[in-house]
């Protein structure tokens, strides 16, 4: 298993790898091959791949540059992991302003995908909290970008999928917390309408909201699940946070996918009943709340060597309930199920990137074992529903959307072209833009 694959392990790709270990290093000289920055390989599809080209591995850029513990501003190199930031700042009373569902992404990867989290309704995407970064272009130019300095480059690079150049360092504004603990509440709910009701109600009372959906449920139970909401625990004793690293790990590829129809139906049915009471409140450490899957190292291996396909769409409010119903109906009908189905309502704060995914509406994330054509056919049917509802797909999760779906998801995509570095490309970009390099 190579480090240079995407988290979904599909599609497969081969690369030349160049390691970028110092900010003052130059990008590799022109060999006729295109290049793409590579962080920690946690995007799912092919936006972190550059088949037959060069990957510039940025994990060696893992130095902090400045931390103002009074103001909560942090500047660090591109390849620093969110987990490394948390280890540094949580004991000093700060937290990431926005975090995705894994802490094992690099900060520059988070910027390049303009990631969102459970507090999107309050904080928007991570791009809104990035105060500055440096962009290294293949001609050697170094551009300082912020919302006010080179703002057009800032807008193109936040959510720009690594195509506009290599981010060498990032400065962000952290948010103050009183400790490493989260007060969480998990509410079992029985139908999709209840999710939307709970979500509306919680948006004003809770910093973090998300729901896990039982996607094997049908009929009146369609969309049932566990609604999880939380707030930073106030005045909590600053107990040391548990180590963020994986406690268990999947050590090898099982000969076939352990995730299949029957196991998924069973898992979903059991997980829905994991708590007997309708509501359970508890105070937990932040990794338990934000990163439950990080506790199992290399969990993507349970899908076998064919890998998994993630699917994440956003549906505007006016269509959200009907479209989600259709999508969940399709999935339950296909019997293929999803291990992790996550539903969240985005807030209205504008995303700063030209190609940012989050926009007002409801977002659903699913993962499917790659069972070949039947999985692709199902995802095409989900695309049709999303497109009819004027929604969009998330590039960071995608390995198969059509150029047409991409263009309808990101009507401004053409504007990105003039910012793309002439020597940069990705498998994803070639696929959706139809360009050869």
């Amino acid at each position: 298993m190579t480090r240079y694959e995407s988290w979904g392990r599909f599609p497969k790709a081969t690369h030349d790898v160049v390691r970028m270990n110092w900010r003052d290093m130059a990008l590799p000289p022109d060999s006729g091959k295109s290049m793409l920055p590579f962080g920690n390989g946690r995007s799912y599809g092919d936006c972190c791949l550059n088949d037959q080209g060069i990957l510039v591995d940025t994990r060696g850029l893992d130095r902090f540059m400045a931390f103002d513990a009074g103001m909560g501003t942090l500047r660090c190199e591109a390849g620093v992991l969110l987990s490394e930031i948390l280890e540094l700042v949580v004991p000093r009373g700060w937290f990431l302003p926005v975090t995705p569902g894994t802490q094992f992404v690099t900060i520059a990867g988070a910027v390049a995908n303009d990631v969102h989290g459970k507090n999107h309704h309050r904080a928007g995407t991570i791009g809104r909290h990035i105060t500055c970064f440096e962009l290294l272009r293949s001609d050697g130019t170094r551009l300082r970008c912020s919302p006010t300095e080179n703002p057009d480059w800032f807008r193109a690079t936040v959510g720009g999928l690594g195509l506009t150049g290599l981010i060498t360092w990032v400065e962000l504004q952290l948010k103050a917390v009183s400790g490493p603990l989260i007060d969480q509440e998990i509410i079992r709910y029985g139908r999709l309408e209840e999710f939307f009701r709970l979500s509306r109600e919680s948006d004003t009372t809770h910093e973090y909201t998300v729901a896990w959906i039982d996607c094997a449920a049908t009929g009146a139970s369609l969309g049932r699940g566990l609604f999880m909401r939380g707030n930073d625990a106030q005045g909590a004793q600053a107990r040391p946070a548990k180590a963020g690293g994986a406690r268990l790990s999947v050590p090898f590829d099982p000969p076939f996918a352990l995730v299949n129809g029957p196991s998924l139906r069973l898992f979903n049915a059991l997980y829905y009943r994991k708590q007997l009471q309708e509501r359970v409140r508890s105070t937990v450490h932040y990794p338990t709340f934000f990163y439950p899957l990080d506790a199992i190292g290399a969990w993507n291996r349970i899908y076998g060597s064919n890998g998994l396909l993630q699917y994440q769409c956003v549906i505007p409010h006016r269509h959200e309930e009907t479209a989600m119903r259709e999508i969940l109906g399709q999935i339950a009908g296909a019997g293929t199920g999803s291990f992790l189905a996550v539903l969240k309502v985005f807030g209205d704060l504008p995303s700063p990137g030209l190609l940012s995914f989050p926009r007002p509406g409801a977002t659903l994330a699913l993962d499917f074992p790659n069972q070949g054509q039947r999985t692709f056919d199902l995802l095409d049917r989900l695309d049709a529903i999303t497109m009819a509802a004027e929604g969009a797909l998330y590039p960071a999760k995608d390995a198969r959307m059509s150029p047409d779906t991409f263009r309808r998801s990101f009507p401004d995509w053409r504007q990105l072209e003039r910012f793309i570095d002439p020597r940069f490309s990705s498998s994803f970009w070639r696929r959706v833009s139809g360009e050869s390099r």
Binding site: R19, N21, W22, D24, R63, F64, M65, A66, F67
Partner: protein, 245 residues
């Protein structure tokens, strides 16, 4: 609080080890040729908790710099009690075989400059009656092999020199730690295909940091190299000389 000098501080193993000293709140002085990069590391170590981080330009092969730099370092930190010598190169064996100049340069960088520095540091620590000196040698110094014997010669010299120094200074309480890493995935070894025996700089650094804190003698890292090298050293020369190693 230790007052630590790291020579060759931009090496991946040295940098990873420096982070552990920084987390302990120690004072650090980073020596190396590339001052821009030393400064990038210094910024990082300050954020990670080092009480003080200084940088100093040093070309280890310019022996005349050694004494003035050591004095400067001791002055900047208000003393010196811990040294990690980590600089080195991995010479191209085939190229060395064709060039006396390259062979001697590899020996100078990897052995003579280390021995010169150790001589000065040992005398300082002997005089102050305390201190810890750690040197990154290599498993390659345990036995000469056709694929890597120029590097192995230099590292073997360093291993024996530190062994002698340890014997000389043990009585007065100065610790000398010989570190013998196996394969480590660093920029120095970027051209090699990596397998199961390869370790990360962070893992090796953790071991070095512990060995320095405890004042251990000879440390193989990762640990299994002690046994691998014990077997390799035990093979009779009559057989070993015919092996393709």
């Amino acid at each position: 609080m230790r007052k630590v000098l790291i020579v060759g501080a931009t090496s991946a193993i040295a940098e990873a080890t420096a982070r552990l000293f920084a987390a302990d709140g120690d004072r650090l002085c980073l020596a190396g040729r590339n001052v821009t990069r030393l400064k990038a590391i210094a910024e990082d170590l300050r954020v990670r908790g080092a009480a003080q981080v200084e940088t100093v330009a040093l070309d280890a092969n310019d022996f005349s710099q050694h004494e003035p730099v050591l004095s400067q370092v001791a002055q900047a930190m208000g003393g010196l009690d811990t040294v990690l010598i980590a600089h080195g190169t991995l010479p191209d064996q085939t190229a060395c075989q064709a060039s006396v100049e390259m062979t001697l340069e590899a020996i100078t960088t990897n052995a003579l400059s280390v021995i010169a520095l150790l001589t000065l540091i040992a005398n300082r620590f002997e005089q102050q009656g305390s201190g810890t000196i750690a040197v990154i040698s290599s498993v390659a110094g345990d036995r000469g092999r056709q694929s890597n014997y120029v590097y192995g010669t230099a590292k073997g010299a360093v291993s024996i020199f530190t062994q002698g120094l340890r014997n000389r200074l043990a009585r007065i309480g100065v610790k000398v730690v010989t570190i013998k890493p196996g394969f480590v995935d660093t920029p120095m070894t970027v051209a090699f295909k990596k397998g199961a025996l390869w370790a990360t700089p962070a893992a090796v650094a953790t071991r070095i940091h512990r060995a320095m804190a405890k004042g251990e003698d000879v440390v193989y890292t990762p640990w299994f190299w002690r046994w691998i090298m014990a077997i390799i050293k035990a093979v009779p020369e009559s057989i070993f000389k015919k092996a393709r190693l």
